[in-house]
Amino acid sequence: MCDDCDMAKRVLIVDDHEPFRTMARSLLEGAGYVISGEAADAAEALAAVVADAPDAVLLDVQLPDRDGFSVATALMAMGGPAVVLISSREAEDYGRRIGACGARGFIPKSRLSAAAFAALVE
């Protein structure tokens, strides 16, 4: 059935700032993504990935319990979803850590758009 191949991608949003999660949800839903859940810290994020098996994770670098790089590395090791890192800092502020953690890519929050996200996960 062709419905299966066209099935919308399911995305988990991980950020400790609730208003930002709401914005990101509107942005991605507007582009046809399905939001499988939201998480405010690394522990919630890892649990949500196990429970909901999303196709992609929009992951903030600075979380209250651990940093997003180690979460991305952990998800990689689980053979989990595609990870897109976001931060209100620039990629340059993190140097080589972005490339080394196994994420698909990095988007500064101020330039987050459905197109930028799609370019990394599709």
Binding site: P19, G30, S88, R89, E92, D93, Y94, L112
Partner: protein
């Protein structure tokens, strides 16, 4: 009646304390024992050896142990001499005196063991020593009380349970205990000897060595006691004769320690000679105590060494503290081996001599101490500033920046949904917000660079170079991460230098060189611009001076007109 008793007893104590008053008593006691010996037809050699040993012990104690700190040791030595003579009461005709002599036969040896193990201040230094001393008294007195109860000889007035067999067993037990004690004494002495140094070694080592030398003959005699029960009288005489080594060792030690110190006049010369050695070192040499330390007293009551580092005065009895005063006020304290106190004249001459030199050195130490404090406080201020900068950067990032980012996305969303209805206003608003975010990010980065914390100096300097609107070459490498304060100082230095290049140098390119050599981070920023830069008081580089000086860093600016500028910093980085 009561009061006169008190007076009499205190009188006796004074007599015992005042060593010279003991002399007539010990001579009289000796002569009395000598008479008893000849009356009982005891061998002349034995009588002579006992008298010689008793008198030598008292004589040596008077000669060598004149200091207050040695009072206990002196008492033990004199008591041992009297106990030795008392043991010879067995030569008396009266049975009661014979029994008393029998009971006291070994007390002098126990007192002598006590003396040797606690010399020179009469205090045991370790628990094993305390156990051996207590065990020696118990064996010497307790053993003989039991011996007296079972001894079958008719002269023994205490022999209520006379038994040949028990007497033999008691004698052999005493012999074995004696052997164990002799071995323990040798072990304790052997353990202590190598630990002695300086004045203590000179004063104590000869006595300890002499004491150890008396052990083999004493052991032989004890073995004969164990085998025969009674013991060989010849061996006993020989052992007591060899015991003369103990007073000899004592006198030798005191003589040696007097020779080891400079005379007072030499001390004056030694201390007033200007030299490379510090006053403390010169005092240590002059007094022959390598462990001697000089602590200067500050006005607030703390003590510092010559370099200004704080010093705690020891409270332990193994170290003595002698205050040195000038014009009635304590200006310093000597921390030294207690053995030095045994020659108060020497310490007095130090007090008299060091006055002026000491005052100068104390002032120098005080200045160094204040300097060290100022430096420590400057380092703390810089560290506190860095922590505060980091906190502000994080607050900007987590607070205002986060909200602006959310706002920017919201505006973007609205603009895309508006479908023609005033999208201009929305997208202009979004542009403004993006500008604000970018400015805020630059501000935060200037306050505390995140990349420096995350990735270290090389990566942060490379990022600085990329952001500089002019070609900047970054050379060299520094390997491992450096302390935060060093990385921050180097980073701000490069940042400030590159800002100056862009603003003032009219350069076509700049080079940043980072190198780590022998505990130093070297940072060199050069450009090919117009030169003529200098470290003006209000320049940004001058503003980094506190930060650099807190790290003991050197900063050199070379800038000749038309020859570019070179800024060269050396920052100590520990490794």
């Amino acid at each position: 009646m009561t009061s006169s008793t008190v007076v009499a007893s205190s009188h006796t104590r004074t007599a015992l304390r005042d060593p010279v008053l003991v002399l007539p008593f010990v001579v009289a006691a000796g002569l009395g024992i000598g008479w008893l010996g000849s009356d009982a037809k005891v061998s002349g050699t034995r009588v002579a050896v006992d008298l010689a040993l008793a008198w030598a012990l008292v004589g040596a104690s008077l000669l060598a142990l004149g200091r207050a700190r040695w009072r206990r040791s002196r008492f033990l030595l004199i008591a041992s001499a009297f106990a030795l003579l008392a043991a010879d009461l067995r030569w008396a005709r009266a049975d009661s005196l014979w029994t008393l002599g029998f009971l006291l036969e070994l007390l002098w040896l126990a007192l002598l063991v006590h003396f040797v193990l606690t010399f020179p201040d009469g205090r045991a230094r370790s628990n094993p020593a305390r156990v051996v001393i207590a065990g020696t008294y118990a064996a010497a007195l307790g053993g003989l009380v039991v011996g007296a109860l079972v001894d079958p000889r008719p002269r023994d007035v205490l022999g209520v349970a006379a038994s040949e067999r028990l007497t033999g067993a008691v004698d052999r037990t005493e012999g074995i205990l004696g052997i164990a004690i002799a071995v323990a004494v040798v072990l304790l002495v052997a353990r202590r000897l190598p630990l002695l140094q300086g004045a203590a070694r000179r004063a104590q080592a000869p006595l300890l060595a002499a004491a150890a030398l008396t052990v083999p003959t004493t052991l032989l005699w004890l073995v004969s006691v164990t085998v025969t029960g009674e013991g060989s009288p010849t061996l006993e005489t020989i052992a007591r004769g060899v015991g003369l080594l103990v007073p000899l060792g004592l006198v030798a030690g005191v003589t040696w320690s007097r020779m080891g110190r400079s005379e007072a006049s030499e001390l004056v010369v030694e201390l007033q000679t200007e030299g490379a050695a510090s006053l403390g070192e010169r005092l240590a040499r002059a007094l022959g105590d390598p462990t001697l330390e000089l602590a200067y007293r500050l006005d607030d009551g703390r003590y510092v060494d010559a370099t200004g580092q704080p010093v705690e005065l020891p409270q332990h009895p193994s170290r003595a503290v002698t205050p040195l005063t000038a014009r009635g006020e304590e200006v310093a304290a000597l921390v030294h081996d207690p053995a030095l106190l045994d020659e108060p004249a020497v310490v007095e001459s130090v007090r008299a001599t060091v006055g002026l030199v000491l005052e100068n050195e104390r002032l120098a130490a005080e200045v160094r101490s204040q300097l060290a404090e100022v430096r420590a406080s400057r380092a703390r201020i810089v560290a506190a500033t860095d922590a505060e900068r980091r906190r502000i950067e994080r607050n900007l990032h987590d607070g205002a920046q986060q909200r602006l980012v959310t706002l920017s996305i919201a505006l973007g969303l609205e603009a895309s949904r508006a479908h023609g209805a005033k999208p201009d206003v929305l997208s202009r608003a979004q542009d403004e917000v993006e500008e604000a975010i970018a400015e805020l990010r630059e501000l935060a980065r200037g306050i505390h660079p995140t990349l420096l914390r995350e990735e270290g100096l090389e990566a942060a300097v490379e990022a600085l170079a990329r952001r500089t609107p002019l070609p900047v070459i970054v050379e060299g490498s520094i390997g491992d991460r450096l302390p935060d304060a060093v990385e921050l100082a180097a980073y701000f230095l490069v940042s400030e230098a590159l800002t100056n290049v862009v603003k003032h140098a009219s350069a076509s390119e700049a080079t940043v060189r980072l190198a780590r050599e022998a505990g130093t981070l070297r940072v060199i920023v050069t450009d090919d611009g117009v030169g003529g830069a200098r470290l003006a008081a209000d320049s940004g580089l001058a503003g980094l001076r506190d930060r650099l000086e807190a790290l003991d860093a050197q900063l050199l600016v070379e800038s000749k007109p038309r020859h570019g500028t070179s800024i060269n910093a050396e920052i100590p980085c520990g490794s």
